[in-house]
Symmetry: C2
């Protein structure tokens, strides 16, 4: 946030509030649920859009010692924030960047034979043993060693010469679906694979996996979305506390009536005397355009449905049912908050809470509340 | 871009290239088409996601003297880039921030009576005439003076005492639809409104409006999306040059076969021997999750359809038809480029090119090509 008055939350067009106390409470709930396993924190994609600069230190203060990001660049940035943490790079060993992992003490998650070979070569070149995590694919078919690659590694353990595997890991594909048999099948495949590899601590559970049975916790769990308030058990009430609050300011009010239309494409045809408010937020701020005509915001506790299309910088809402004193230029409306959580917005948009979070834009005035503890 | 080797385009996971020569050529085409009207440049939302720090100076070098952003904060940042330009703030006068507009020489677009009153008050308080643009709504019902508000202003011109209106403007709702009668109706409403206000230069045409008839150019046109390569005439070939190129690197390859599945939710069921590549980009980078199972990328000139769901940091593609030498870890695939433009991706995603651009993420290694001229 700059020191311009426009970024002062008392005046900003839209305000994103991160509740660090809720984030810490979510971490502790997940850690307690998974205990005695260790509980890592996945903070890739700028801590799922919340801001790694505020989220990562809060998570460390809450007890996290192990952190996962996707890309090397993210790891370098995180190392500057957390000098002591263990940091792993999920997307593996970026080609030609071996020395960067060493300098910044970042652990590559070795996903395929080429990465193992490169890390092995780096260990030989430096004359020092190098640490890494090893990823076994058990059904995502995305990253990690496939069955044939595992066979070769099991038959030739010398391929790992010079490498200390500090963790063997895999990743659930369907743990958000309580009854999906793929979760147990993946876990079984993973255990069989572990038996063919050098002995190492193991990890497979993501946020949802933590709630699908204590047996899945193994030595380390790796929650991401649940830390940030997304429901890891969609079939039941959300056990997590909301972390994100988003408010946007009303810029202007307008009385419209039939046969007027609102917005681009004139998609909303006014049917009765209606009061429209235009708020200072749009798809350029990550308020997905698929919410056009489907989303809703809340004004002083009253529901206000979106009308017309979401614009780049503006959203129009129907405030006919809102008390006049509450719907005034300058008033803040609730976009994400107690009446409308991240998962509900995702349903309106036809996506998942993760995307609602990672889409959060760069123009919001951002503030934190709650002491990290 | 930091100086880490991971942000070196030769190694980066994904690379966003902005062609400044194409951007300049697009500006000149729009300016020529609209002449003798002046041609502004709309650079809100970080120049539609391309990066205002590179786009705005290139547009000024190409001849633009008038710039529009949405928010005060954007205007302050743009002023630092362009000391001489005329800069207007579309979202109007941020409450309590009048002095910031004066300090940074930013013109508020006065959208409603409350803003006119505040700017009038600021002129009186400072003892200096203050400049502004005035927005007349002609059917968007979003921002700008409504019919009743215009009546009052026309009846009481003293409300504008102390204010120099440098431009009267409105905004087309449906100019992207060639045959939509709303465009002509809005233009007529606007001309009638102008006649009731103090004489001032006028503007109504956005990118599409520039191509809907010379009469709409008036004194100033305000293109946005067309500058950045989006087709302003969707019913015809795109007259604009592509400005954005996006490439992402293959992380890993995998051979799969029935009855395997790929990705979250196991939504893609493999039907035949298939080669899957996982590339280093996902919805956290603005590659919309609605592209799951619908998008496509190109590998060395061969089409590779998406399979399974778009993940936060990863996308899986079918490279069975790609020559083996071209689909290797480390190879770059074309996400936005000659084979797949922004509008095509938007169609796949069920949105518009504008959102594809403004969603472009923060993790890409960004580079520019082409001299600004």
């Amino acid at each position: 946030m700059t020191d311009s008055p426009a970024s002062d939350p008392n005046r900003a067009a839209a305000i994103l509030t991160i509740d660090l106390a809720a984030l810490a409470a979510n971490y502790r709930l997940l850690a307690t649920t998974a205990a005695p396993a260790r509980c890592a924190a996945v903070v890739k994609a700028d801590a799922y859009g919340l801001g790694i600069d505020v989220a990562a230190p809060a998570l460390e203060a809450a007890g996290a010692r192990d952190f996962f990001v996707a890309q090397l660049e993210e790891g370098i940035a995180l190392r500057a924030l957390l000098p002591e943490a263990r940091i792993a790079i999920l997307n593996g060993l970026a080609p030609g960047c071996e020395a960067d992992y060493a300098v910044h003490r970042l652990l590559p998650v070795l996903n395929h034979p080429g990465e193992i070979e490169a890390w092995h070569g780096f260990a030989r070149k430096t004359g020092e043993r190098q640490h890494a995590f090893l990823h076994i694919d058990t059904g995502m078919n995305r990253l990690g060693l496939g069955a044939g690659e595992l066979d070769r590694l099991a038959a030739h353990p010398d391929l790992l010469a010079g490498i200390d595997i500090d963790l063997v890991m895999s990743h659930f594909a369907c743990a958000d679906e309580a009854a999906n048999p793929m979760t147990a099948a993946q876990a079984a495949t993973f255990q069989a694979a572990r038996g063919r590899l050098p002995k190492a601590p193991a990890s497979i559970a993501n946020s949802s996996g933590i709630f699908r049975g204590a047996a899945y916790a193994l030595d380390l769990v790796r929650p991401g979305c649940a830390l940030y308030g997304v429901n890891p058990t969609p079939e039941a009430a959300n056990p997590m506390r909301p972390v994100v609050r988003l408010e946007a300011r009303i810029l202007q009010l307008r009385d419209v009536d039939s046969p007027m239309t609102v917005g681009y494409g004139a998609t909303f045809r006014v049917a009765r005397p209606t009061k429209i408010a235009t708020i200072a937020m749009g798809y350029a701020d990550g308020y997905l355009r698929s919410l056009s005509g489907r989303g809703e915001v809340w004004v002083a506790g009253t529901r206000a449905p979106l009308v017309g299309r979401v614009s780049m910088d503006l959203v129009t809402i129907d405030v006919t049912d809102v008390a006049e004193a509450d719907a005034q230029p300058g008033a803040l409306v609730e976009v994400i908050g107690p009446h409308r959580d991240v998962d509900a917005i995702a349903r309106d948009a036809g996506t998942i809470g993760y995307e609602v979070l990672t889409a959060l834009g760069q123009r919001y005035a951002r503030r934190t509340v709650g002491a990290a503890a």
